[in-house]
Amino acid sequence: MNATLTTCPYCGTGCNFYLIGDENDRLIGIEPAGKDPTSRGQLCIKGWDAHAFVHHHDRLKTPLLRCDGELQPCSWDTALQVIDQRLHKVSAQYGPDSLMFLSSAKVSNEENYLLMKLARAGYGTNNIDHCARLCHSSTVTGLMETLGSGAMTNSLNCFEDTDLVFVIGSNTTEQHPLIGSRILQAQQRGTKLIVADSRRIRLAGQADLHLRHQNGSDVALLNGMMRQILQDGLEDRAFIEQRTENFSAFRESLDSFTPEFAARISGLSPKQIIAAARTYAQAENAMIVFAMGITQHSHGVDNVRAVSNLALLTGNLGRPGTGINPLRGQNNVQGACDMGALPDVYTGYQRVSDPVAKQKFAAAWQKPLSDSPGLMATHAIKAAAKGEIRGMLILGENPMLSDANQKLVRKGLESLDFLAVIDIFPTETAQLADLVLPAACYAERDGTFTSTERRVQRGRKAVEPPGEARADWQILCELLQRRGIPADYADPAEIMAEIADLTPSYAGISYPRLEGNGLQWPCPSMEHPGTPILHEEQCTRGKGHFSPTIYRPPQELPDAEFPFLLNTGRTGIHWHTGSMTRRSHLLDREERNAFLEINPEDAGKLNIRERQQVRISSRRGTIEAGAMLTERVPPGQIFIPFHFAEGAANILTNNALDPESGIPEFKVCAVKVETC
């Protein structure tokens, strides 16, 4: 028996566990890390089952090259030569910006850094992005503007110090179970809990106030609350005066958001909005927790601004038990952003348009660099469909199931001259590729991951990858070298040393220092202990900026033809496009098929019985799924998780994008439901 300590591959909470291996180099179980400050000897059901997919027979084991229309095994040499030459050919013919690189929130910081370097230094384009575009790009854009940093301001142990938790648009017990459990425990100790969510999620059952506001009405709700706080004189005047700017303009912007007006838009009663305002503002220390319910809207950045305004207005920032706490989805989505797998920034959010930053990276990499920001992932798909992007390298992402409007994604990917995919399983996206490279999964390689509380932690190799599969960092080193960029790193620790050299917020991070409990960035020097709470003395940008917002409705609301509001998301059992969890026996058995949640009242009107297959259609497509009759969703709304290829919610969703962050409106579109 052997036990290898590593970081969980699923959500951004950052739990640590041991992979238990047997004498035959096979993983047979999981043991939570007992002394780890995040997991504390506990895990969620996915964590307990995180070994289960590793040895699945579907794992990709050899490079595959499309010949005569079929993906066929080829050698690594051939595969690397093809990928290098084909990307180079597209670049030479159509220019570097005809290439797009999609990185992954599932791979390590080092691997994100290398792909970012390959795109920028190897091919001269800033066209690099990853799935943060689909989850928290609104957060990064919004909080960068208001605070100067897009990350969770506080730490997970702050749930033990708070008087109130306001959860808006986060199904925390299912999506970040070990954070949801801290909220439940806090509530049991007497911490007040406000939940704003149209669905009756588990936390709602324990909440002092559950606000079932209409999807997409967050700005109205939050502005209504803030106007009421000012009306009652519950704002933190000293904080506003000393720590913030632009308050007057912000206050004026709230004039029209009377409780009645906010109630009309949100579907709540004025009393509920007033009660929420008073409860939140009267707490000594209050934490706001949010996730996709806030961000995945065509006005996602405005939602984030409103959240930020609420914390600034009440001075809930920079202290234990307070803060603006976006919960990051993937285990390394924070790190992928930190590593500059984004079109407009290098590592540590250093802007490509900043000549000083550009000069620094150009000197380090000995390559000329572009200073024009690249394409966002969501724009790149549209550009590919129009023939403007001709070559794409996708590392560990499955946009065929994860992006809005699958028909458009398919058109975009099928229009490419060349598509290469690096992954661990033959995903729906890999099926469309010209070349597929087999990668090692989390249990088969070393690296670091950055959790939602900005904690940089080690991932450790426990077993060998299957067949000829290689670690992503090894594959990327080969590709860098073929572009004439030295990449003879002995191990990921050497890559981290280069990252630390170029990244002020990671400057104090090194592998030896990460032993133990990791380090929370910013960690600007080798002596620095890390930063559990941001914005303590002042905000990263200096003054906290009040950013006024107006209410804008979602882009597609129910009408006579498509009378239901479709809300999409995830369940607690499966992970995203299901490539790992649907190959984990216990998880697969728990939720086997595509389903939709529908209120019994609506089901009754449509003569739909429990588990009956129904047809759901939007303006973009049609799927079938089994009905689950539940009061979790309000009448008029259905909820479909996007895990299931055979009933893919994203065939239906609307890729109406937020104009600033490029995030699609996953949380609202109009559909109709019919019996099959």
Partner: protein
């Protein structure tokens, strides 16, 4: 047989045991999680917190390959290990857990996959002042081949089986008086958890706990399955069939009765279709059904589910609430 061993004796004993057995001894993993680790001739940490992973996992692992069916349709069993297991450092609760599971898997029809690993295994108990901060661990008085009892200076050793006696026979006799002192001190130690569970068990068997109580508990459950996975008396498993290079491999994997699919029928009907029903059933099984079936509670008081539950509703916590709300 009562013997006494010095620290040096212990090391020599373990070296000898490791010739015949795959010997696992308590040690600390990278983050100081206490675990059973292969004896390497040097690292030994007998004294400390309870082992985190249940020792029954060595005989009933989380993933347990049972057989492989090859392309010709013939089946083969997994290769036997050359040596049987020896587990050292098991406290009274750990040993009760193994005894409980032994009885379950040995009952007709006996479970050959379990017995293949368990039959020749050696169990070494741990008692005396060997808990966290030298806390006194009560003697198991059986349930193992021999038990090591720390008296703060040396190790007393009591054998309970012929195999245990064989291993200890070469050592000097121990002091019966010293052993009795430790026994007496252990008896004086209060065991509030045991009393709590008995009270809760009586209340459950007398049907004094209403459904609303289980609704409130279930509302605080995040369905992680941890209570089952860490429980040394939980024995439920499901079957996993997987294609391998040589055929189809059938394994059993730990199941959790807190999962919806645990009892869901193919029709979709689920007699345990709510978390409330599942939570109620799980506790009833341990505290009401097991006393009928086995004559004792299905909880060995190890405290693992209370430590592993992210929301604080492990067995002790639930029983405390039951007794507080419905006790006399």
């Amino acid at each position: 047989m009562l013997k006494q061993l010095t620290g040096k004796d212990l090391f020599e004993l373990f070296d000898k045991l490791a010739v015949d057995y795959r010997l696992l001894v308590p040690g600390n993993l990278a983050d100081d999680t206490r675990s059973l680790l292969p004896w390497d001739g040097q690292q030994l940490s007998l004294i400390g917190e309870p082992l985190q992973r249940k020792p029954t996992s060595h005989f009933f692992p989380q993933t347990d390959p049972l057989l492989t069916i090859n392309s010709q349709g013939t089946t083969s069993l997994p290769d036997d290990n050359e040596k049987p297991l020896a587990l050292c450092g098991l406290n009274r609760e750990d040993l009760h857990g193994i005894t409980f599971v032994d009885r379950f898997f040995s009952a007709v029809p006996a479970d050959d996959a379990y017995l293949r690993k368990r039959t020749d295994a050696l169990l070494i108990g741990l008692a005396g002042f060997a808990g966290a901060d030298r806390q006194l661990l009560p003697l198991a008085e059986g349930h193992c081949d021999f038990e090591l009892i720390y008296d703060q200076q040396k190790w007393l050793a009591v054998a309970y089986t012929a195999t245990g006696e064989d291993w200890l026979t070469v050592y000097a006799d121990g002091s019966a008086e010293q052993l009795e002192i430790i026994r007496q001190q252990a008896r004086q130690r209060s065991t509030p958890e045991a009393e709590l569970l008995q009270q809760a068990s009586h209340l459950l068997q007398a049907d004094q706990v209403p459904d609303i109580f289980w609704e409130e508990i279930a509302a605080r459950c995040i369905c992680c399955g941890g209570c089952n996975f860490v429980c040394p008396t939980c024995t439920c498993f499901c079957m996993q069939d997987r294609q391998t290079a040589t055929g189809i491999e059938r394994s059993r994997v730990w199941d959790s009765c807190q999962l919806d699919a645990f009892m869901r029928e193919a029709s979709g009907y689920n007699p345990l279709g709510t978390e409330t029903l599942r939570t109620r059933r799980r506790i009833h099984h341990k505290l009401a059904a097991d006393p009928h079936r086995w004559g004792e509670l299905g909880c060995v008081l190890c405290g693992r589910c209370d430590r592993a539950c992210p929301t604080g509703i492990g067995m002790f916590s639930i029983c405390k609430e039951i007794v507080q709300q419905f006790g006399f």
